[in-house]
Subunit: 206 residues, 4 copies
Amino acid sequence: MRKGRDPARNRERILRAATAEFARHGLGGARVDRIAARAGANKRMLYYYYGNKDGLFLAALEEQYARIRSAERALELEHLEPREALRRLMLFTWDYYLDHPEFMSLLASENLHRAGHLRKSRRVREMHSPLVKTLREILRRGERAGIFRGGVDPVQLYISIAGEGYFYLSNRYTLSQIFGRDLMAPRALAARARHMADMLVAALRS
Amino acid sequence: MRKGRDPARNRERILRAATAEFARHGLGGARVDRIAARAGANKRMLYYYYGNKDGLFLAALEEQYARIRSAERALELEHLEPREALRRLMLFTWDYYLDHPEFMSLLASENLHRAGHLRKSRRVREMHSPLVKTLREILRRGERAGIFRGGVDPVQLYISIAGEGYFYLSNRYTLSQIFGRDLMAPRALAARARHMADMLVAALRS
Amino acid sequence: MRKGRDPARNRERILRAATAEFARHGLGGARVDRIAARAGANKRMLYYYYGNKDGLFLAALEEQYARIRSAERALELEHLEPREALRRLMLFTWDYYLDHPEFMSLLASENLHRAGHLRKSRRVREMHSPLVKTLREILRRGERAGIFRGGVDPVQLYISIAGEGYFYLSNRYTLSQIFGRDLMAPRALAARARHMADMLVAALRS
Amino acid sequence: MRKGRDPARNRERILRAATAEFARHGLGGARVDRIAARAGANKRMLYYYYGNKDGLFLAALEEQYARIRSAERALELEHLEPREALRRLMLFTWDYYLDHPEFMSLLASENLHRAGHLRKSRRVREMHSPLVKTLREILRRGERAGIFRGGVDPVQLYISIAGEGYFYLSNRYTLSQIFGRDLMAPRALAARARHMADMLVAALRS
DNA sequence: GATGAATGAGGGTTCATTCAT
DNA sequence: GATGAATGAACCCTCATTCAT
């Protein structure tokens, strides 16, 4: 019953700890020692499993992408009415960002580094073609039903849907400071969600 | 004709170098040595002028805020027709982000650190009340003229205006990778600008 | 047909890999992981067979000595005319060094460590008494035949014979650099071999 | 009267300590911490002055070459009778190796690494052209005087002169072990010196 | 005999900062 | 104001070795 009994679990714990550390301090500010301590693992094991700090970051990032895409697929958007599908996707994304601020942090770090890690990952690219495909079909259905205008690009649409809440949430600390207001108050969040849904519907109607 | 002949200029060069370094590597990844080297200054001078690394970061951040607010004021939005004023603000912001990616980087770093630097700055808070005031008046004018719906909060409005392009630009590296498409192509940028302006108008009409 | 089917072969492969690694990087620079990888063996096996890194080094060194002494015995110097015997030994040694640079490397490492490993090896000492005995008899035969001067010590003689080419070959990299010349060019090597043989004959004639 | 008062001296002490450490343990086995401790310096200063471990090794090696060449020039061989000049050079080299075993150690390390450091040094190459020139002139004088045979290459000659004692001294530890005899006994050393001088004269006479 | 997982000590290197001048 | 030299703590990473199976 020693610690090493369950390798998969140790691997997992390391990834968990790394995600938290990277989210909290960024890639440059993250400390390998802290990750090992949080994971209850020997520092050497990070390297054993993930090669180095960058490998660990990529693994954390890939996992985060996999998780959001997986949760997204569970929405089964393809079975919903087109307008409802997009509304659901937007609210899901908003809620996901709210519940998983670490995902936004990792994205910020990766963009700071100009996606140098992602560039080496095949997995992530493959992960996103189903999403684009689904959106394209929703748009097509909406267009055929005469409720969406044509010529909308699915990738641009996704960026609008996800981006609508991103700035608000990713920059909540600076925005709260410069405007002297708590953006995370429940009422403020609810108002924001409503506002976004309205914007989306207005933007797509034919 | 010694190097030290112009103190103000040296101070300025250090801040310039620091901004570039922080933007490129983040706060944690930035190196004091590189900043000094880029500035052509002795490392000791950074401390003489700015206290420490965090003081330097705050100075860089404050200056960035001052610059965008100053450029904004030059738009003289208060003299424009309400709808045009908001359209102009949105396009200005989009262009400003495009031309000054270092600003977005500093914002990302500061949010990673939960606005710990900004919290110590009075200057920045004072800097933003005129902006809120201006927006509030634009909204009032539009409402009185019957072209804007009522009940719109100026801070929420600003976040919508600025945020519309933020996700697209701040996350351009990861988005380009996961979707396998160059988001910075001139045509893509132009399409995005048009799309954003349309969204805004649709969202506010009464 | 499992991997472990032939223990002796695995042992052998480990020793082979270790010799190459020690020769290439020295004892201090050699990596146990690389040895295991090159041998296609589990790291634990190195310890199972050889105790530790130093044990492995000693085994590699002992084997190298055994090999050169064995090849030397195959010359059957005791059946040759004395002058020819020594000439043959010198050229054999030169060729052996040329063909087995790893032997010279191991010797250099062991001397850096002041022969700490060899000191623990009985095998190696026993391995060399036949060589000294053979040389002593060659010298005696030459002296009796009136072609060699007397008073020559067999150990000193061996050092002269082996050393003649050693510096040239063991230091070929630095010598090539400081003199800006390729010492390993075929013509240079041939000239060196001739030169050495001449030196030897001249040095021993009565 | 603090420690930092004399930078040149600190630099020098570091180089001194590094030379000893590299000689004793080889490049791979040398420890930066030990070098700093021996030099009584902060570890950081090694990097401040020499860049990294390899830079430090190269500096040590270059200095060793500079020293032996400098001592060599002090012999003023060009003013001696040709045979005497070469005899003096050989004995000088033998004595130098005896007194500076660290030089041989550094050479062994550098050859283990295939002269990777030397390859980056211009200084060392330039350092050796005067030596070759001097030897060439000695050979020419001896040939004109009818005491040396012609066609001797100065570089090959130097390798013979230096190499004669090199193997004996660089490999003294292994040789002493395998032959069970102390090669560093005064009588043995004297005998070796005599033997080498004899070999040289015999080898060059016309 | 053989294996993947695990370990603690220490490797070279770099950090932000400060000293004396 | 400005400088080169110096510092100690901590950085990421790797080492030879051993554990449980």
